[in-house]
Symmetry: C2
Subunit: 349 residues, 2 copies
């Protein structure tokens, strides 16, 4: 007898208690696992995205595929023993690289874990934890988390980008991640804004991440530090080569004019790329996360303006462009959303 | 008793006749209507995309919304009286401009029909023809037709573009058109390949249709004609200002070197835009229609090369870039696909 069936049986007899029975009965817990290069973070998450238990352990990527998998399983077991009711009914895991979200198998390993390629990640977790398990790429999982529990939760169609070393993206259509034919949809960082522009590591030219990701912003910050132009960066770090994109974002957020200009320039480039995304997909919402988003209005102001200037009016009129809301919970929250979305048999949402 | 129910009842008794009973019973006919600026073309189409009856009448847009609607209804009635079995069970209509595909209402009229805005196109057709009716934008309908019956029929996720006065696009995900928040998804012609490039009527800069649509190609053809460089264009038309994009495409297809260079230049620009589409959506197939596609390999050769150069390897490796297959049937075939996809109650596919 499954929970859903029990519910349908109980309800007619407890008419007066319906509300509370319903609330208790449909509440689900799942386990979200975030496999990163440094740490494995796991959490028990409820169906409203609240973290009710957490567990973390070092990834130790160099120890190899089986050892990393063992630590993922150990994290899952530790969380399964948390005193929560109902018990978690499914597991979701997000990890960098290409993952076939249908089968939960690693197809392009991005983490440097020996033997990780072709790992049937979801199947192995499922067998060990005796629960349904699902896996997807970390950026897709973050997008799903924002769509279900975060800044995009009011929208059916959204795009989520994360500005870091590169610019990752996840495309959410009808509250589901769009994966594409080879699990490579959402590579917005590698869309070009200038066909004759800067060379990119991917082989193309003018990819927006060569202008607007953290390395480009840090480089502009270093040049600013060296130029002698008065800037708070000189108070924040003691040498040009210590300047990070986060420093530039922080200085811009606090009103430093030269850093604001760096962020604005990145925002204009990002705006050109996002206007293309808007004209192709016409989403309701674009969510922007990653360290550079900490620049706040110094980034979002010119970004919104540029998208409105370049995107088709009808498609930009009611478009929301907002910061990510989940922050550090994005990884586990998104992995939990993946599990909640895919699992059958422990209630419905 | 519906057809599907009858089938389930009949089958156990006619085991030996199963194949033929099945074939006759699931065959559906629908009406596809293509409302264009000049003509209304209608057809009875079967569930394999075959046109079994056709009817056409002038649009006479200037006569106003009610008169145009009356001619659409008249076309539908003429087709309903065709001697086909089973009788058509639904109606689909495609038309330029913005159409809310869920409600079938005109939201941004592109045809110059007085009073056309806000026309509840699907509802009025449905009431008059006493059949379920569905409406969508003509480019989306063309994409759906290619996805169901044409060059994209082997694929679940595809993008279909039509090169004409502009470059229209339709995004098909999981064999359904992706419409976006404001029915404006797929405006690939207005994606920019150069953020500081040519000014576009839409207000943006560097939109690919300013480089690769028919007017840009015709303009290059006219300059070529005037330049005195030997070209077949001089045999085809007697004055520079008579050169059309179709002439340039035809000359390129027949091997004229200067015209091949014009088409190649357009193909390179289009390739840059489509590489962006590929990196965002990772489709299985891109279908290209419209007059310029008649240039054949003069267009498709450099286009495929450019998309492979610029798109991410994994996403371009197995990507098919193919010419549209439906040709003149695209409008009615796509409208029929829309009806077949949306209708309930006359068999399933």
């Amino acid at each position: 007898l499954r929970r859903g069936q029990a519910l349908r049986i109980i309800l007619p007899f407890y008419g007066g208690m319906k509300a509370s029975v319903w609330k208790v009965s449909v509440k689900r817990h799942v386990i979200g696992l975030d496999l990163g290069g440094t740490n494995i973070v796991g959490a028990v998450v409820d169906d409203e995205g609240q973290v009710v238990a957490e567990h973390r352990t070092p990834t130790q990527a160099e120890s190899g595929a089986e050892a990393v998998l063992a630590r993922l399983i150990e994290t899952g077991r530790a969380l399964l023993s948390s005193p929560v009711e109902p018990k978690p009914c499914a597991v979701g895991v997000g990890s960098p690289g290409g993952i076939d979200a249908e089968t939960g198998r690693v197809v392009f390993p991005a983490l440097n874990i020996p033997g990780w390629e072709d790992m049937p990640l979801a199947a192995r977790l499922s067998a060990a934890l005796e629960l349904p398990a699902f896996a997807d790429n970390d950026v897709n999982v973050t997008a799903l988390g924002e769509a279900w529990f975060g800044a995009g939760s009011r929208y059916r169609d959204m795009v989520c980008i994360t500005i870091g070393t590169g610019i990752g993206g996840g495309v959410v259509i009808d509250r589901r991640v769009h994966h594409g034919a080879n699990h490579f949809a959402g590579e917005i960082g590698h869309t070009s804004i200038d066909l004759n522009g800067r060379r990119c590591v991917c082989g193309s030219q003018g990819c927006v991440e060569t202008y607007a990701a953290a390395p480009a912003i840090a480089e502009s910050g270093r040049r600013l530090w060296e130029s002698g132009i008065p800037t708070r960066l000189r108070e924040m770090v003691s040498a040009a080569d210590e300047v990070t994109a986060a420093d530039v974002a922080e200085a811009a957020a606090s009103g430093d004019a030269p850093c604001r200009r760096i962020i604005e320039s990145a925002a204009r480039c990002l705006g050109a790329a996002l206007a293309n995304v808007v004209n192709i997909l016409n989403p309701e919402c674009i969510v922007i996360g990653g360290g550079v988003a900490q620049a706040g209005e110094a980034l979002f102001g010119p970004l919104r303006e540029e998208v409105r200037l370049r995107g088709l009016n009808v498609a930009t009129e009611n478009l929301a462009i907002v910061p990510a809301a989940l922050g550090e919970r994005a990884g586990v929250g998104g992995a939990a959303a993946l599990a909640l979305q895919r699992v059958r048999g422990c209630g419905t949402k």
